[in-house]
């Protein structure tokens, strides 16, 4: 039995009426599942994510998170997911701990968030920097702040945009471990990335986006079968899918 936590139905969207970036896109993310969103630069990954976040309104089609669209349920729609952006976005004026505090405030988390936050700080080796100002951290450390804030919420859906760039190997491992933990607890994850070898190991399903259209989707076995090459790596599948101009 599968339950869709995120459903994108026939989405046409983008920034200009006469030049949509996404064409009739349909995809879904189920509970207990990590879905990899894969595509070249400019394929429409970030636009898809912006539509899911409710930053852009669909021109056609709709997007449902836990069954309802943004306009149906403005108050709770965004509480269903947390978002890790490609570039860390932080406040210069707030310390690391205050960022976690603000997250708790925005999502109206119960008081036990503090314990979870301490746990996350430890996992990501940031306990010492709790009262530092992350505005001056390195890219990797700022990325860790974003990751911790997202995991603190424990939502039913994670939207993750290229999380690995700049992270050190231990950071990457901590991120992946926590993500798998959340998945096992029932969360769904939509992750856009270019690091295909990692995606291959951790994602349950893949969606390959090219020029705003889904060219292939499915599990590794399904994708390998589709290109008629059992044992092919995700890199091979990806290059084949995007080169053939399907």
């Amino acid at each position: 039995m599968t339950n869709s936590i995120l459903e994108v139905n026939n989405l046409t969207g983008g920034y200009q009426a006469n030049k949509p970036v996404l064409h009739d896109l349909s995809l879904n993310v189920n509970e207990n599942e990590i879905v990899g969103l894969i595509g070249l630069n400019g394929a429409g990954k970030s636009t898809t994510i912006k539509h899911v976040l409710g930053l852009l309104d669909p021109m056609k089609g709709n997007i449902r998170v836990a069954g309802s669209t943004f306009s149906e349920n403005k108050d709770t729609y965004r509480k269903q997911f947390s978002y890790i952006p490609e570039t860390p976005l932080l406040y210069d004026e707030l310390t690391l701990w205050e960022h976690l505090q603000l997250t708790a405030l925005a999502y109206e988390l119960d008081d036990d968030w503090q314990q979870r936050a301490e746990g996350l700080l430890k996992e990501f080796r940031m306990t010492n920097m709790k009262n530092w100002f992350p505005g001056h951290f390195s890219k990797g450390m700022r990325q860790k702040v974003m990751i911790m804030c997202a995991f603190l919420v424990q939502p039913s859906l994670y939207i993750v945009d290229e999380p690995f760039v700049g992270l050190d190997p231990i950071g990457i491992q901590s991120f992946l471990d926590t993500m798998v933990q959340m998945k096992e607890k029932g969360a769904g994850v939509l992750m856009s990335t270019h690091i295909l070898s990692t995606a291959e190991r951790y994602c349950d399903r893949f969606i390959i986006l090219h020029d705003g259209v889904i060219v292939m989707s499915g599990t590794m076995t399904e994708l390998q079968h589709e290109i008629g090459k059992p044992g092919a790596t995700l890199d091979e599948i990806y290059i084949k899918a995007t080169r053939s101009g399907k």
Binding site: K50, D57, L89, Q101, L105, A106
Partner: protein
């Protein structure tokens, strides 16, 4: 410590703290003196101009256009930060108060500008319509009301998704504002005024308000707006002092750039850099052209050779003061310091470009005076005062290294 209710106050407070510091610097600079001089000069000739204004001058139309422009142009300020895209997004529905405060704040700032504009227009209006002061004060009050309605309408417009054009809404808003202010200015019958006012409110309720319910807040658009406005402020402040927060905005300007390659100094490293920065970066070119244009207008409209001479000198000096902020433009660049350049090249290059730019200005000023007055003496006098101004302006030691 953190409460969403306090957020707006904290942010507006933080901005004003910085802004006040810059205002103090601006107040201390010599530019203020030049500005006051320009104002007195302007006020004097404004009253002179009114005396000689022909009967056929479409005064009310001009007033309507200026007033409507000030009222329709409605930049809103939200004090958003990029990180809000992640942290405040889930709390959007709790931020109503935050956005209301932003709207009220934007209204207050622009109400001030509206009142100032209306006061400046008052003599022209009295000249045209000979209405009582109390009526004009009433008109100003209605203008403020219109400003408020425009703030609301603009806020609704900002909800429009990227694929729906905003043009129709702006046209409706502009038309309604112009119509109502025109009727008020010509003291039209109450029936027309009230009918238009009712129409205005109807448009707000039935055309603009539904947008808010239908669409989400466009965070990225608001962020871009905020960014644009704070950069405008910092760029203005940058004319008086170094503003570290200023991000560079660069425009290609292919045609102008290739012209500048030929007419501006372009032989040494600094000459090339300054020349490119002048054309492509920030507002330098815009400031130069704007001052050139206003200067030309002043020389055309100000009667008497003395007035024209003062105008020419003043505008050349003003341009020099403003362009001087280009001097430290590349100071933060490490690579340039590593180049094997002769000492003094930087100062030389800057002076040379400044002289060239101001020289062009002086020549144009003198030429237009010649065409206008057909008097070689005026041409020479303005040319003379222009050259003196160029020399004085470029002699002044360029600010600290």
């Amino acid at each position: 410590m953190m409460q969403l209710e306090m957020l707006w106050k904290e942010r507006a407070g933080a901005f004003w703290n910085i802004a006040l510091r810059y205002f103090r610097l601006i107040g201390n600079s010599s530019f203020l003196f030049t500005l006051v001089l320009t104002l007195i000069f302007g006020a004097y000739y404004y009253s002179e101009l009114l005396k000689v204004l022909p009967e056929t001058f479409p005064g009310v139309a001009v007033i309507t256009i200026i007033a409507a422009f000030v009222i329709v142009r409605t930049p809103l300020r939200f004090f958003l930060s990029e990180a809000d895209l992640v942290f405040l997004l889930p709390a959007e529905s709790k931020l109503k108060d935050y956005f209301l405060r932003s709207l009220f704040y934007s209204f207050m700032l622009q109400a001030f500008i509206t009142v100032v504009t209306m006061v400046i227009l008052a003599p022209l209006y009295q000249h045209e319509m000979a209405a009582g002061t109390s009526y004009y004060i009433f008109v100003i009050a209605i203008m403020l009301l219109l400003k408020g309605l425009n703030v609301l309408m603009k806020w609704m417009e900002l909800h429009l998704p990227a694929h729906r054009s905003v043009v129709g809404f702006v046209v409706v808003r502009t038309f309604m504002t112009m119509l109502l202010s025109y009727l008020l200015f010509v003291q039209a019958s109450w029936v027309f005024v009230s009918l238009t006012a009712i129409g205005f409110v109807g448009v707000l309720l039935f055309v603009f308000f539904p947008l808010q319910g239908k669409y989400a807040i466009k965070w990225e658009k608001l962020l871009a707006l905020d960014e644009k406005q704070s950069m405008k402020f910092y760029r203005t402040a940058n004319l008086f002092t170094d503003v570290p927060k200023l991000k560079q905005s660069v425009k290609g300007r292919r045609v102008i750039s290739s012209i500048a390659d030929k007419i501006l100094p372009n032989d040494t490293v600094y000459e090339k850099l300054y020349q490119k920065a002048f054309v492509r970066s920030n507002e330098y070119l815009g400031i130069y052209l704007r001052l050139l244009l206003i200067g030309l207008l002043v020389i055309v409209f100000v009667p008497g050779t003395t007035g024209k001479m003062i105008g020419a000198g003043l505008f050349i000096y003003l341009t020099a003061t403003q362009l001087r902020t280009l001097y430290p433009h590349f100071d933060a660049h490490v690579m340039i310091k590593l180049y094997p350049l002769k000492s003094g090249q930087k100062d030389l290059a800057f002076q040379k470009m400044l002289k060239r730019l101001l020289g062009v200005q002086a020549v144009l000023f003198a030429l237009i005076a010649l065409v206008l007055t057909q008097s070689v003496i005026t041409f020479f006098l303005i040319g003379l005062i222009g050259s003196v101004a160029v020399l004085v302006a470029t002699m002044k030691k360029t600010s600290k290294p």
